[in-house]
């Protein structure tokens, strides 16, 4: 299979031209900056020149999500990465999945409908991204039917509205409960004052892709801040070739006009004194070109629409310097509408639908006691008052599934950060969760953070987490034609051990970690040998071990470089075999190079993921993907222009497909581009 394109034809020629062109370009940049502009100053002297007013506007790196209060990253009880809005601009990231793919240890897959996330070697095909908890300003985004962390275009927030992203590796169930299994991603949104009046942004990209965004934001006075934004996206998509369908009856393997996508999303973020009201909404439709679940090939009639919205009212009060209090009230709405064109025969449109509605509340209380203890405690309640799944044929009308339920859950947690000595911190937490369908579950986490030297931190981390099966895994069946339900599923559990060394050396920030993760009762889609039906089962144990290394450098003339490498081995503990869709090697590297100070910059990203095993036991080859972004700011006042080429080398690569696909591997986009203009008023 392949994507139609028409740049160069000779594969090796174009590759060598591009490689040499890029090398020369970069070398010239670097030499030019170092020898050509000898008088250019380094960042510290800039710091020295700033007056106090300017200094008061400089942001310092801290992290919130790891233990629900603000900490320096070296003191967080986890291995943390932070991505900021300027990184999103610098490298031309289009969606959350692009951002996460640049983070060390994380990798993505894409089946031309949804994006999936993997970390520590776990990303089993067929899973709905349930093992990562996705939060927006602390609000849980995983829905209450599939528990999915949406990271593709279906993610509720336009990436342009992200202020920063905290990626926390390892379990956090002791703070956040279910789904905080392999890690959490907390998105901190922009506020009105970050926009300051009005922004209009327009994008155009390959395959007739367009996006527009209109954002209004303003801080009216110290008490009140408002941001309102709307985004509209539309893509015609590509004609895609699948060799598995290459015969006369199925258009010789070409799916034409079956890759379209569109979404509309809205976001409002307001603050009045200690109150913060946030609302978000997205509806996103995607045509599926891959003909999954035995549907007809080459049709736009097979498509899915995901609609998600939430309201979150937060009250945060710092009672005194040692005590703070947060309470939240929220409402979530999720609706999934899937259309599948099946030839039973006759040709019918099967509707697959889900509704999820919930409301909930959270209380959190932080207090410093006996000078050396910082205690965080909290209670969370969620009422899933609608969890409904339906599956039926339209005409002739046959209903296969109509499952309507409700459930509730609550959790209570306590965490203590104990400063034993000035250079030794013990962080321990415990949380108990209750679910209507399951027994209670208790998770603990402990971290010992030792700073033998001023610029060295050593973290010893132990964590436990769990994930309750979602409604889909428990109750979905299509009338026992291909898939049956399993209400007897147990929660999955994980125990993890990790050692992290963080070291600052001159202009470099280094981190090295080793990890061992062990999962029990892993839930996976399997085929029941007795009746041939697909069913979710608690499989035996799986384990992952590996090492991760990252070096982040800030150089003269604001050049920034980042390189990370992960080696991981995730295996089924019984058979000793490598898990499916689990690359052993991941390498990512970023270069940010200012070309004209504050006006023009280049962002170059490399992402390598090693070969991954497919469900059929074959391999999807490893691939090095190169992206280049040029960003121009301040050339005309208030105008930002960026041009990005993705997959410059037009590398052919694909990801292992999940069981509902005929394909073993789903091929990804070749070279494509995007041009983006943003006007600030």
């Amino acid at each position: 299979m392949g994507v139609r394109h028409n740049f160069f034809n000779n594969e090796s020629l174009k590759r060598s031209i591009l490689i040499s062109f890029l090398s020369v370009l970069l070398t010239i940049f670097l030499q030019h900056f170092c020898y050509g502009l000898e008088k250019e100053e380094d960042p510290l002297s800039k710091l020295a020149r700033l007056n106090l007013e300017d200094l008061m506007n400089i942001k310092v790196e801290t992290v919130y999500s790891a233990s629900k209060f603000i900490q320096k990253t070296t003191e967080a009880p986890s291995h943390v990465s932070i991505i900021t809005s300027s990184d999103i601009k610098r490298y031309g990231y289009r969606r959350l999945a692009d951002v996460i793919n640049s983070v060390s240890g994380f990798y993505i897959s894409h089946d031309r409908n949804y994006h999936y996330l993997g970390v520590r070697g776990f990303s089993p095909p067929g899973d709905c991204n349930t093992r990562i908890l996705l939060l927006i300003d602390g609000h849980r985004i995983n829905d209450n039917i599939y528990n999915t962390a949406y990271i593709g275009n279906e993610f509720i927030l336009d990436v342009d509205l992200i202020d920063r992203i905290e990626v926390i590796r390892g379990p956090s169930s002791s703070i956040y409960g279910s789904n905080a299994f392999l890690g959490i991603i907390n998105i901190i949104t922009k506020r009105g004052k970050d926009i300051n009046k009005m922004e209009i942004s327009a994008e155009a990209g390959s395959f007739d892709t367009y996006k527009n965004r209109l954002t209004f934001g303003r801080e009216f006075n110290k008490n009140m801040d408002v941001l309102i934004s709307a985004s509209f996206f539309k893509s015609h998509g590509q004609s895609l070739y699948y060799k598995e369908f290459d015969n006369l009856a199925t258009n010789n393997g070409w799916a034409d006009g079956a890759d379209g996508e569109r979404y509309n999303s809205f976001f409002i973020n307001t603050r009045y004194r200690d109150f913060n009201l946030q609302g978000a909404y997205i509806t996103r439709e995607k045509i599926i070109p891959t003909a999954p679940w035995g549907t007809e090939f080459n049709t736009h009639m097979t498509n899915t629409t995901d609609t998600y919205g939430y309201l979150n009212l937060k009250f945060k009060k710092d009672v005194d310097k040692d005590t703070s209090f947060i309470s939240r009230l929220f409402y979530n709405h999720y609706y999934y509408d899937g259309n599948y064109l099946l030839n039973r025969p006759p040709l019918v449109r099967t509707k697959d639908q889900a509704w999820g509605k919930s409301w909930g509340a959270e209380l959190q209380y932080n207090r410093r006691v006996f000078e050396k203890h910082l205690i965080a405690s909290g209670f969370e309640y969620q009422d899933n008052f609608l969890q409904k799944q339906r599956n039926y044929d339209e005409s002739p009308y046959v209903i296969y599934l109509n499952d309507r339920r409700n459930s509730n859950q609550w959790g209570i947690f306590l965490q203590d950060e104990f400063t034993v000595f000035d250079n030794l911190v013990l962080n321990a937490g415990i949380r108990h969760d209750y679910f209507k369908f399951f027994n209670g579950n208790t998770s603990t986490r402990a971290a010992l953070i030792y700073k033998p030297l001023e610029k060295t931190a050593l973290k010893f981390l132990y964590g436990e987490a769990f994930r309750v099966p979602n409604m889909y895994e428990l109750y979905y069946n299509d009338g026992n034609l291909t898939q049956k339900a399993n209400p007897d599923l147990d929660p999955e559990k994980i125990k993890t051990y990790e050692i992290v060394l963080e070291q600052y050396y001159k202009n470099l920030q280094l981190s090295l970690s080793g990890f061992y993760y062990k999962v029990k009762n892993l839930i996976a889609l399997t085929t029941d040998a007795s009746d041939g039906l697909l069913v979710f089962r608690n499989k035996d144990e799986a384990e992952a071990k590996g090492i991760e290394f990252e070096v982040h450098g800030k150089w003269q003339y604001n050049i920034e470089t980042k390189l990370n490498y992960t080696f991981q081995q995730a295996t089924d503990k019984n058979t000793g075999r490598l898990l499916v869709n689990s690359p052993r090697h991941l390498v990512k590297s970023n270069f940010f190079i200012p070309i004209i100070e504050n006006k023009l910059s280049g962002g170059l990203g490399f992402e390598y993921s090693g070969k991954r095993k497919t469900l059929g036991g074959r391999y999807a080859g490893g691939a090095l993907i190169t992206n280049l972004n040029l960003l121009s700011q301040n050339i005309l006042k208030g105008l930002e222009i960026s041009g990005t080429i993705y997959n410059i080398l037009d590398k052919k690569y694909g990801f292992p497909a999940s069981g509902e696909h005929t394909q073993q591997v789903i091929e990804q986009d070749g070279r494509c581009f995007r041009l983006k203009l943003t006007c600030l008023f």
Binding site: I19, P43, L44, L52, L55, N57, K59, N507, T561, L563
Partner: protein, 170 residues
């Protein structure tokens, strides 16, 4: 190619610039304070040409000050030195007290008493206990509070430009 660039790209650009972290920013603040404080008359008589910042206690990377060492403030040279005990603070015009001293802070303030020394900290509660300027974090940004009474006792005058940016502790 990228591995090559990563390692050799840096070589081209001699690695002498520093990371821009919390302590660098705080150090910049402390250096700036030297520009807005008037010491009692006579303090700089007799050929003293430096404003001396002494660093006492741990918890603050002293090399964060390296860059500001030797820069000028009010015509004097800003100099930093680490001191191990409080017996030789006569030569200090400014004294940074690290978070490690939070249980001894009242004693330290009593030792300094009414000496014309600008005391500085970055630990919660220090200003209330008599440290003149205390840095703190808010929204990931560095802020500072000033204890006016402690300042008067030390006989120092802080410029109104500085006062208007500070949270005032009475």
């Amino acid at each position: 190619m990228f591995i090559f660039l990563f390692f050799f790209g840096g070589q081209f650009c001699r690695a002498d610039s520093q990371k821009f972290g919390e302590y660098e920013v705080k150090a910049a603040f402390i250096y700036n304070f030297a520009k807005f404080v008037t010491w009692p008359e006579g303090r700089f008589k007799g050929g003293k040409s430096t404003i001396d910042l002494c660093v006492y206690g741990s918890g603050f990377p002293v090399n964060a000050f390296d860059y500001f060492n030797g820069k000028t403030a009010q015509g004097y040279i800003f100099k930093t030195k680490r001191i191990k005990n409080l017996s030789n603070i006569d030569g200090c015009d400014m004294l940074y007290i690290g978070p490690s001293e939070r249980y001894q802070i009242t004693q330290i303030i009593n030792t300094i008493k009414n000496m014309p020394i600008l005391t500085i900290g970055d630990t919660e509660g220090f200003a209330e206990k008599g440290v003149i300027i205390n840095l703190y974090m808010e929204d990931d940004k560095v802020r500072f509070e000033i204890n006016i009474n402690a300042c008067k006792k030390a006989g120092l005058v802080i410029s109104s430009q500085l006062l208007k940016l500070a949270r005032i502790i009475q």
